[in-house]
């Protein structure tokens, strides 16, 4: 019995603006509770919304990046429900006339290769505040700092076929939105949130089965785990003769399990109607064009260009194009050093490793790294030595050449000096020389090693090898 899993993700992304969607309160993370509030986001009697133009611009950029159709006229709507962190008793969102529809997100599935997942719609809405259930006994603490922060909701179609694909989709989505700079997409900080729709069906069936919604997924790793747990639960249920009922499942990361979010009345009647406090959202062609022009080269295009222009493999190009910061870093180093392959290697290994331990900072400047690459190419530094110099520059800055010299790492590339060492080494190992001349050419590395010892590591090993070979030749 072979099962197919169908997954669609709904992602909520906080937009990077200074102020909230409908009021001038700050969106800064981490402020003391209820200090970034005003009559509007507190839902005080008489308050009214005033829309943030920058948020609208960022939302349009997001829609364009997915290749969506951006609708010149869309309408804000009220989604009515009661919850303590929803101050007005409704959320201003969009319903039947959203900002954008019909886009694509292409990602790489380890199972199926490139998948072009549908973006069904993208719309603008405001965030709710935060309810904290474990601070006070028998009570919930409510902080409205987050209430009113601008969000886009990105609804993906039921195009994903495994928990792993869900994770890959999400990572690609995050990369894209970070690339275009509209959001931090930080699941820890809550600027990227995901809910998943999951159903299963027997392989070969075409109709979609009843799906459940999985919520409370707080990291990329948990995306995969939660969906695996829910998929397995559904399969086990159906295999034992049961049926899947439409419900909301909450993921528990500690137990790695899901449980049903039972509510007394499953009333999802949001009674949507057009927001009477806001006229329609009308976007001029100029406005949309401006957002288009603000879009940078997108990750897919950049990766393809790296392959074409710099001869990188697709894998390497993907790694160095992973974020805009790294891509721009790589490209500058590639151009300055004129050694794109070397640049890619250095970025993928030393630069990213160092960044990982230092808050994602690329500590070595592009100029310095280019220099280092040049020094290796010119034989002044061995690869080993270059790595040491890199580490020094990363930690303390400075000029690579000067550092190499001060650390005594500069290789000796003077043929005369090397010839001297060669003579020394050959003189010290006559029996090996004898054996070499008799045909044991595998002894060459031995001589190189001896020469490196004699030169206290300073000899350029490639040059040393050449000179040795010449001297040992019959």
């Amino acid at each position: 019995m072979s099962w197919e899993t169908i997954i669609g993700l709904e992602t909520h992304v906080q937009l990077r603006t200074k102020s909230k969607m409908f009021c001038g309160c700050s969106t800064a993370f981490g402020a003391p509770p209820n200090t970034q509030v005003c009559p509007v986001c507190l839902g005080l009697p008489g308050a009214l919304p005033a829309a943030n133009g920058a948020a609208i611009g960022l939302a349009v950029r997001g829609a364009l990046a997915f290749g969506c159709t951006v609708h010149p006229k869309s309408v804000f709507a009220r989604k009515n429900y009661f919850y303590p962190d929803l101050p007005k008793g409704y959320q201003i969102s969009q319903f039947d006339q959203p900002l954008a529809t019909n886009g694509t997100l292409s990602f790489l599935s380890s199972e199926r290769g490139v998948v072009n997942a549908t973006i069904v719609r993208l719309h603008i809405e405001e965030d709710a505040g935060k309810s904290i259930h474990d601070r006070f006994a028998k009570a919930t603490a409510v902080d409205l700092n987050r209430s009113g922060v601008p969000l886009i909701e990105i609804v993906g179609g039921p195009d994903l076929r495994s928990p792993a694909e869900a994770r890959a989709y999400l990572q690609t989505l995050k990369q894209l939105l970070e690339y275009i700079g509209i959001s931090d997409c930080d699941m820890e900080k809550g600027s990227l949130r995901v809910d998943a729709n999951v159903s299963v069906r027997r392989a070969g069936e075409t109709a979609l089965s009843t799906r459940t919604e999985v919520k409370n997924i707080n990291s990329f790793a948990f995306v995969e785990k939660a969906l695996t747990v829910e998929r397995d639960r559904q399969i086990a249920l159906v295999e034992s003769g049961g049926t899947v009922t439409q419900q909301t499942m909450l993921y528990d990361s500690k137990e790695n399990s899901v449980r049903s979010q039972r509510s007394k009345e499953e009333s999802h009647d949001y009674r949507y109607f057009p927001e009477p406090d806001l006229p329609p959202l009308v976007l001029t062609p100029e406005f949309i064009a401006e957002q288009q022009s603000e879009l940078p080269e997108l990750p897919g295009a950049k990766r393809d260009r790296f392959v074409a222009s710099y001869g990188l493999s697709r894998e390497h190009a993907t790694v160095v194009a992973a974020t805009r910061a790294v891509a721009e870093y790589f490209e500058t180093v590639a151009k300055t050093s004129t050694e794109p392959q070397a640049a890619a290697n250095w970025v993928m290994t030393e630069a990213l490793a160092d960044a990982k331990d230092h808050g994602d900072q690329l500590r070595v400047s592009t100029a310095a790294l280019s220099q280092i690459i040049g020094l290796v190419k010119g034989g002044t530094l061995s690869n080993q030595a270059a790595k040491r110099v890199f580490a020094e520059v990363a930690a303390k800055g400075g000029d690579p050449r000067a550092i190499a010299e001060s650390l005594g790492l500069v290789q000796v590339g003077d043929t005369t000096v090397i010839a001297g060492w060669v003579t020394e080494v050959l003189a010290a190992h006559p029996s090996e020389v004898e054996r070499y001349k008799k045909g044991e050419t595998k002894l060459l590395p031995f001589f190189v090693g001896q020469l490196m010892r004699a030169s206290k590591g300073k000899a350029d090993p490639k040059l040393a090898q050449r000179v040795l070979e010449e001297k040992l030749a019959p």
Binding site: L44, P45, A47, L48, G89, K264, P276, D277
Partner: protein
């Protein structure tokens, strides 16, 4: 410059009307502070203006005539209030009103009904009954009210004062506690057209905080005209049905005769969708209200009505006990018409009907009519309790006023006579953003119409 004591005394003298919700002690104290701070260069310097209790003021409380906001002090001023203060006016207390502006008699206030200044057995109208009564009693020269379906014009007509409703989007709604968002506007009561218009001028104009407020300069007041020469006044036949109260008809006839004598061209017109206006209104207003009133949940402000074991109990007891029966009824109605399965049949249909009603007006104005004249209300002030048994009976008193709210048009009610001593009101409905023409005509009419004569 007003004397705090004199202003307060006049208001306290009208205490028996139950029109003022502000305790006299608080009023006096605040007036002293305000007078000291008032801007001497302001065009309304020293003018005491009473404010309906559904408009947010830093002074006093803002209860909206409801228990659910009992004792609530707003931490900000409505834009209209801020503009009054900037013009040097004094906020002379908060006035009683139907709860959350839902009503036509102020009998639905949690704080008791407002008595008609001339006959205490009768209602002063609603929902802005308190503001109307205070101006009629001479306690203040002007007062702010609010309109959703006629809540300024109707009480103005009942009490014999001037009441103006501006074009939708002329005055900022920021700080006006929302009832029917696409219908609400702050309106003004005055002893005279001039008093009301002056105040309207001050509170009008752009406000970036209200996205439905048009980006326009404040209203410029017209001069008092010599005559009504050049005005074309339309009389919509649907507002003069055969069963119209005879006294109302006589008063209107007299006013129409005066308009002709003043040189206006008068012609009969038709607004064919008028019969659908009240049902349209009573779908749209409660629908929007049901959503606007969701925020009253006991979580962030206002009293809680229950020790509350859990959240749902908190919501339900606070709202169940904090809201009065009319408000509860409208919330239920509104929730129903928006709910799944009913949206198209009721709300969407009502919004479409609204378009037809608005089109009726456009058709008439496009054919050379400048203003429309109609009775404001079908009859003079009714007796307290008379219309409480049947909600629809109460709703029908809005029959001549709701169309202007639905179409977003400006309108003014002015006293045009008496029926056995009770005031009668006649209304002019103007074109969008042409309040000046409407006020101009009202000035002319006011000078000649014998407002206190029996019709």
């Amino acid at each position: 410059m007003s004397d705090a004591k004199a202003v307060a005394d006049r208001l306290v003298k009208a205490k028996r009307l139950n029109a003022l919700l502000t305790p006299p002690k608080d009023l006096r104290k605040s007036l002293n502070t305000q007078i000291a701070a008032a801007r001497p260069t302001g065009v309304l310097y020293g003018m005491p203006v009473a404010v309906k209790d559904n408009i947010c003021t830093l002074e006093f409380t803002t209860t909206c005539g409801s228990r659910i906001l009992e004792g609530y002090r707003s931490p900000y001023d409505a834009t209209a209030v801020a503009k009054l203060k900037a013009a040097g006016a004094l906020i002379a207390g908060k006035t009683n009103c139907d709860e959350f502006a839902m009503g036509s008699s102020t009998e639905h206030s949690a704080y008791g009904r407002v008595l008609h200044p001339l006959d205490k057995t009768r209602v002063s109208g609603g929902s802005s009954g308190g503001s109307a009564a205070l101006v009629a009693a001479g306690a203040v020269p002007a007062a702010l009210g609010s309109e959703t379906g006629g809540s300024v014009r109707q009480p103005a007509a009942f009490c014999g004062v001037v009441g103006i409703k501006p074009t939708y989007g002329r005055v900022s709604r920021y700080g006006l506690v929302a009832f029917g968002s696409s219908l609400d506007q702050i309106g003004v009561f005055g002893r005279s057209v001039h008093d009301a218009a002056r105040v309207l001028s001050v509170i009008s104009g752009r406000d970036p905080r209200d996205s439905t407020c048009e980006d326009r300069d404040p209203l410029r007041l017209p001069t008092v005209p010599e005559s009504l020469q050049g005005f074309v006044i339309g009389l919509p036949k649907e507002y003069f049905p055969p069963e119209l109260d005879p006294a109302v008809r006589r008063a209107c006839d007299r006013a129409i005769r005066i308009m002709k004598e003043l040189g206006a061209a008068v012609r009969e017109v038709s607004l064919p969708h008028t019969p659908y206006a009240v049902p349209t209104y009573y779908v749209i207003a409660p629908a929007e209200a049901s959503s606007n009133l969701a925020r009253y949940d006991g979580v962030r402000y206002g009293p809680r009505f229950n020790g509350a074991a859990d959240l749902r109990s908190l919501y339900r007891s606070t709202r169940g006990q904090g809201f009065g029966p009319e408000v509860r009824r409208r919330i239920l109605l509104g929730t129903y018409v928006l709910s799944a399965g009913y949206y198209d049949a009721y709300y969407r249909r009502a919004q479409q009907m609204r378009a037809l009603i608005a089109q009726d007006f456009r058709n008439v104005f496009d054919r050379g009519v400048d203003l429309l004249f109609t009775p404001t209300v079908p009859s003079p002030a009714f007796k307290a309790g008379e219309k409480l048994a049947d909600p629809i009976a109460m709703y029908m008193s809005d029959i001549f006023t709701v169309t202007a709210n639905l179409a977003g048009l400006p309108a003014i009610s002015l006293p045009i006579g008496r029926a056995k001593g009770l005031p009668l009101g006649g209304q002019l409905i103007g074109q969008a953003f042409l309040e000046d023409e409407m006020i101009e005509a009202a000035y002319a009419l006011e000078r000649v119409v014998p407002a206190t004569d029996e019709a």
